[in-house]
Symmetry: C2
Subunit: 148 residues, 2 copies
């Protein structure tokens, strides 16, 4: 079983996508993360769900979650409103060192090692020209490898 | 909205649980991770799904996913068999520096900051005595904060 057998179509966002719409996409489609592609169709970044939160959480709260407690409940409830009107480009967190990206020939062990190492439940699969073929999720990987 | 309003019952595993059963629990119930509790009911660790993979992926593949390519496809397909007969205790990866654990009073902003910082789509919620009340998932957090 190779990445090409597991990769499925996955919604992609661009730098000009609305950050709020990106968060809604994640929530409504129950996605483990988002794939950010450039105008040329090549993956620019893969944002695990937890890193999509970074688009909206103020930097001082990320550095020290205890500081988030000084924000009152009503304002805390509306923290995602900070995304309103912003694009993904404006909210993009610092790039990770290594992107969870692989090619069509990757085995399930390679996919698992890449997920474990990059802490991403989502791996983008590219063709030989670096174009996005689809994505493999952690759930899909486990479902296929645990199937009797 | 506080952690106590969002926390739901969540299956927990112990150090003596079967590692393979733990992986199956994650896959079958579509969980974003697992909560490991001690005999006293206190959370010992929270393993995001990607870190549950670490229970089965050989260390040399985690250090360099490219090395996983030398393992042939048939063996790669069966990598989860490595978990057979082992307990969670035997497979437990290195502990993270900071556990995604909070108390019942945490706001959604605190929960989001904690998920972003620890890269865990799952936060365990404890009572004043450190006992597990339940857990908040990233999906549940987004669903509640994006609800109109």
């Amino acid at each position: 079983m190779r990445a090409r057998d597991l990769a499925v179509d996955f919604p992609a966002v661009t730098l000009d996508s609305s950050a709020l719409e990106a968060a809604k996409l994640l929530a409504e489609q129950d996605l483990p993360g988002l794939i950010l592609v450039g105008d040329d169709g090549r993956p620019l970044s893969i944002l695990p769900g937890t890193q999509v939160l970074r688009l909206a959480v103020p930097a001082y709260c990320q550095d020290d979650p205890a500081l988030a407690r000084v924000v009152d409940e009503a304002h805390a409830d509306g923290f995602l409103r900070q995304l309103g009107g912003k694009t993904v480009r404006e909210c993009l967190p610092e790039q990770p060192r290594e992107l969870p990206v692989t090619d069509a020939k990757a085995t399930v062990l390679e996919l698992a090692a890449l997920m474990a190492r990059t802490r991403s439940p989502l791996v983008a699969v590219m063709d030989d020209e670096g174009l996005l073929i689809g994505a493999v999720t952690l759930q899909s990987l486990l479902d296929h490898t645990l199937r009797p």
